[in-house]
C-alpha cells in the first residue's frame, strides 16, 4: 500500500486541498464565516514569544501558591514521623506530658531487684531478710534507705526486733538514680508504709557524697540517721499526694514521660526526639 505516491482515498471527491481557501467549496457559507470569524478573533491574541498569561491565571497561581505554603506550614505536623494529627502545634505534646510515674517504675525495679529477698509483700523472712512493710527503717529521712541501697548493708544488727547478720549488696552500681528514687518511693508508700516520695536529686547528691564507700553496718547507719530522726518532708497525706499524679499519668491518653529517655532515640515517644 505504500507505493511511491499513494494518495489518501478517504475523501476521493476532494481536490488536493492546498489550504483553507482551496477548501472553501467544501464548507457551507456560515461554517466558512465561522472559520473566518475565528481567524479574526485569534488575530487579537498576542502572538510574539511567550504570550502573557492572562491576569486571572496569574492571580489563580499566586493564590494557590500562597494557600499551599500556608496549608503545609500549618498542617505538616512539623515534618515529624510520629505526628498524625494535622492540628498538631509545636510544644503541644509537652503540655500533655505527665511527671514520671515513680510508683510504676519502682514496682518494676522492686520486682527485679528486691523481691527475691524481701518478698513480694515486703515482709522479708524474719531472722534472714529484714521486712520492709511497716519497717521504721525505710521511712523517716529518705537518706537512710537511700544509703543502704547505694552502698549496701552488712554486719549483725537488730532490725524491727529481729537479729540479722546477713548482708545486702550495694545496688548503687546496677541501679540508676531515678530507679533508686522510684523503688524507695514505692517501698515507702506501699504495704501501709507512709513515707515521703524520694527525689532523684537526693539520690544523685548522696551518691556523690558517699563516693565508693563500702557497705554500712546497721550501727553506723543508725548513728548517721537515728530512727528518731523525723522525716524532713512530713509524710502526712504523702501517699495520696504522691499517689494521684502517679495514677493520672498512668492513665491511657497521656504519653509516657521521661521513661522514654531510657529507650533508644529513634523510638522515643515524645514527638520531638531529644
Amino acid at each position: 500500500m505504500s507505493d511511491a505516491e499513494p494518495t489518501n482515498k478517504l475523501y476521493p471527491a476532494t481536490p488536493a486541498p492546498a489550504g483553507p481557501v482551496a477548501d472553501a467549496g467544501r464548507l457551507s457559507d456560515e461554517a466558512l464565516q465561522a472559520v473566518h470569524a475565528e481567524r479574526f478573533e485569534e488575530k487579537e491574541e498576542p502572538a510574539v514569544g511567550f504570550s502573557p498569561v492572562p491576569v486571572f491565571m496569574i492571580m489563580l497561581f499566586t493564590a494557590l501558591t500562597f494557600w499551599t505554603a500556608l496549608y503545609i506550614g500549618n498542617n505538616a505536623g512539623g515534618f515529624h514521623w510520629n505526628v498524625y494529627d494535622p492540628n498538631w502545634r509545636p510544644g503541644s505534646e509537652q503540655s500533655t506530658q505527665g511527671p514520671p510515674d515513680l510508683m510504676k517504675i519502682g514496682a518494676r525495679v522492686f520486682k527485679n531487684s528486691c523481691q527475691q529477698c524481701h518478698g513480694p509483700e515486703g515482709k522479708g523472712v524474719p531472722g534472714t531478710y529484714p521486712p520492709l512493710a511497716g519497717s521504721t527503717w525505710v521511712i523517716g529521712p529518705p537518706d537512710r534507705p537511700v544509703s543502704v541501697v547505694l552502698a549496701g548493708l552488712s554486719g549483725a544488727g537488730t532490725i524491727m526486733d529481729n537479729n540479722y547478720s546477713g548482708s545486702m549488696p550495694a545496688l548503687g552500681i546496677s541501679l540508676k538514680d531515678q530507679e533508686i528514687a522510684a523503688v524507695l518511693t514505692f517501698v515507702r508508700q506501699s504495704w501501709g508504709n507512709t513515707g515521703s516520695p524520694v527525689d532523684e536529686a537526693d539520690v544523685t547528691q548522696l551518691r556523690a557524697s558517699l563516693g565508693t564507700r563500702s557497705s554500712f553496718t546497721p550501727a553506723e547507719l543508725l548513728q548517721h540517721y537515728p530512727l528518731s530522726m523525723p522525716d524532713p518532708t512530713p509524710a502526712a497525706g504523702a501517699p495520696a499526694a504522691a499517689g494521684t499524679p502517679a495514677a493520672t499519668s498512668a492513665a491511657p491518653g497521656t504519653p509516657a514521660g521521661n521513661t522514654t529517655s531510657a529507650v533508644p532515640a529513634p523510638t522515643t515517644g515524645a514527638p520531638v526526639a531529644k
Binding site: 478517504l10 491574541e45 511567550f50 491565571m57 515534618f79 494529627d85
Partner: protein, 492 residues
C-alpha cells in the same frame, strides 16, 4: 563504527525526503498500520474481557450467590482481574497504538523495524494474560494495581521499553518546527511510565519497603499511573483530535504548556492522597493534599483550551463520531479534575474515603475520560490507517449511546450512592449492615450501567471487525486486480 552507523541509519525514522509531503504523510500512516491495528485489536479484546469480568463482579455485589460455587469466580479475584485488564490490557495497549501514531504523525517520522514492535506487543500481551490468569487462580499479590505476580514485572517492563523506544526516536528525529503540546504530553508519559512501574514493583514486590512505606509506594504508583500515564496520553489525544477534526486551532493555546508544566511538577506529589488519615505521618498526607489542589491549574487550562475550542465548532462536534467521544472525554476530565481537587480536602475526604465514591473517581478517570477519548481517536485513526470509511452509522450510534449512557449512569450511581454511604458509615448510630443495604440499589444500577456499556462495546468491536474484514477484502482484490485476474471496479 560502521555497524553502529548502519544501525543508526536503520532506526532513523525520517521518511524519504525526496517524496512530497502528502506522500510522506501517507507513508507514515502506512508504517503505523500494522502495529496500530495489532495494539487496537488486542486492547479491545482485553477491554471486552474486562467488561465481562466487571459485569460478573458487579452482579455479585448485590447477588452474592451468583456463580458463588467456584473459587475462581469470587468477587475478590474478579475485581482485581478486571482492574488489571483495564489498566494493562486495554489502557496500555491502546496508549501504545494511539501514542505511537500521534507522535509519528506530529513528528512526521515513521516507525521502522515493525517485527520488533510485533514481538514486543506479543510479549506484553503474554505478560498481561499470565498476570490476570494468576490473579484468577489465586496468585494475587493484593497490592493495588500490582496484583499480578512479581514475575510479570520484567516481562511487561522489557516489552514496554521496546515499544516506547519508538516514541523517543520519533521525537528525536522530528521535523523542524514548533513542537505541539501533544508531543510534550506523549513524550513525558512514555518516559514516566517505566519509572513509575519500576518503583512500584520494586518497593512493593521485589524489595518490599518496611511497614506503610510499602503502602505509600503503592499509592504513589497508582496515583501516577493515572496522573502521569493515562492522563497525559488522554490529554495528548484530545489536544490532537479536537483542532485536527474541527480544522480550528486550540483556543488560548499559549496556556497549554503551563497546564503541562503544572501537571508534570505537581501530579507526582499527590502520591499519598489515598492515605489521608491513614497510618502515614501527617506531613506526607498534607503535602499530597496541597499538590492535588495545585492541579486545579491544569484543570483550568485544559478546560479553557478544550471547551472553548469545542464550543466554537459545536455543530461539527456533534456531526463527528471522533469528536463526540473526544469531547465527552474532555468534559469527563474536567469533572474528574474538579472532584479530585475537592476530595483531596480532609473534610471531604473523610466522607468519600473507602466508599463507592472513590470507585466512581477511578471510573471517571479511567473510563469516562481516558477510554472515551481513546475511542474517539480510534474513530479518527483507523480510517486513515486502513484508508476506508467506517461502514455503518448505526453501529457508531449504538456505541456512543450505549457507552455514554452507561458511563453517565454509573458515575451518577457511584458518586451519589458513595457519598450517601460515606455519610452513613461515619455515623456510628447507623449499624454497618444498614450501610450495606443502602448500597444494594447502587450496585444494581452499576450492573445496569455496565450492561449498557457492554452493548456499546459489542457494537464497536463488531464495527472494527467489519472494518478490518473490509480492508482485507479490498487489499486482496487490489492484488487480484493488479494481476489482471479481476476487472477494475467489479464487485466481488
Amino acid at each position: 563504527m560502521i555497524p553502529f552507523a548502519s544501525l543508526l541509519a536503520s532506526v532513523d525514522p525520517r521518511p524519504d525526503p525526496r517524496l512530497s509531503e502528502r506522500a510522506r504523510l501517507s507513508q507514515i500512516d502506512a508504517s503505523m498500520r500494522g502495529p496500530a491495528v495489532l495494539f487496537v485489536v488486542t486492547a479491545l479484546a482485553w477491554l471486552a474481557a474486562a467488561t465481562v469480568l466487571g459485569l460478573i463482579a458487579s452482579i455479585k455485589l448485590h447477588a452474592p450467590y451468583f456463580l458463588s460455587g467456584t473459587e475462581f469466580l469470587t468477587y475478590g479475584r474478579l475485581a482485581p482481574a478486571c482492574a488489571n485488564l483495564l489498566v494493562y490490557g486495554w489502557g496500555c495497549n491502546v496508549a501504545f497504538a494511539v501514542g505511537l501514531w500521534i507522535m509519528a504523525r506530529l513528528c512526521e517520522t515513521q516507525v521502522k523495524h515493525l517485527g520488533m514492535l510485533y514481538v514486543a506487543g506479543g510479549v506484553w500481551n503474554f505478560g498481561v494474560f499470565w498476570g490476570v490468569a494468576a490473579i484468577v487462580l489465586g496468585g494475587s499479590t493484593s497490592v493495588e494495581w500490582l496484583e499480578m505476580p512479581a514475575g510479570v514485572g520484567p516481562v511487561l517492563g522489557s516489552s514496554y521499553l521496546l515499544i516506547a523506544l519508538w516514541v523517543i526516536l520519533c521525537f528525536q528525529y522530528r521535523q523542524a518546527g514548533p513542537v505541539y503540546v501533544s508531543q510534550w504530553y506523549l513524550l513525558a508519559a512514555f518516559c514516566w511510565f517505566p519509572w513509575i512501574y519500576f518503583v512500584g514493583e520494586m518497593m512493593t514486590l521485589w524489595a518490599p519497603a518496611r511497614g506503610t512505606v510499602q503502602a505509600l509506594a503503592d499509592g504513589w504508583f497508582v496515583q501516577n499511573a493515572l496522573g502521569l500515564w493515562f492522563t497525559p496520553v488522554g490529554l495528548a489525544a484530545i489536544y490532537y483530535c479536537l483542532p485536527k477534526v474541527l480544522g480550528r486551532p486550540i483556543r488560548h493555546y499559549y496556556l497549554a504548556p503551563l497546564g503541562f508544566l503544572v501537571l508534570a511538577l505537581f501530579s507526582p506529589w499527590t502520591g499519598a492522597r489515598n492515605l489521608i488519615y491513614g497510618p502515614v505521618p501527617v506531613w506526607i498526607q498534607t503535602v499530597s493534599i496541597a499538590a492535588s489542589v495545585v492541579l486545579v491549574v491544569t484543570m483550568v487550562v485544559t478546560a479553557i483550551n478544550f471547551h472553548l475550542t469545542a464550543w466554537a465548532g459545536r455543530r461539527d462536534v456533534w456531526e463527528s463520531p471522533t469528536l463526540r467521544f473526544v469531547v465527552f472525554g474532555a468534559v469527563a476530565f474536567t469533572l474528574s479534575a474538579v472532584i479530585g481537587v475537592v476530595t483531596a480536602l480532609r473534610s471531604v475526604n473523610v466522607v468519600t474515603h473507602f466508599t463507592q465514591f472513590a470507585v466512581g473517581q477511578g471510573v471517571n478517570g479511567l473510563y469516562a475520560f481516558f477510554t472515551m477519548a481513546m475511542f474517539g481517536v480510534i474513530y479518527f485513526m483507523l480510517p486513515r490507517l486502513l484508508e476506508r470509511e467506517w461502514p455503518s452509522r448505526l453501529l457508531i450510534q449504538w456505541h456512543f449511546w450505549g457507552t455514554g449512557a452507561g458511563v453517565v449512569l454509573m458515575l451518577a450511581a457511584l458518586y451519589i450512592g458513595g457519598w450517601n454511604q460515606g455519610m452513613l458509615m461515619n455515623d456510628a448510630t447507623v449499624p454497618f449492615i444498614a450501610v450495606v443495604r443502602q448500597l444494594v440499589p447502587v450496585n444494581e444500577l452499576r450492573t445496569l450501567a455496565l450492561a449498557s456499556m457492554a452493548v456499546g462495546l459489542v457494537a464497536f468491536c463488531l464495527h472494527v471487525v467489519l472494518m478490518l474484514v473490509g480492508a482485507l477484502i479490498s487489499a486482496s482484490r487490489a492484488v487480484l486486480v493488479k494481476n489482471g485476474i479481476l476487472r477494475e471496479g467489479s464487485v466481488g
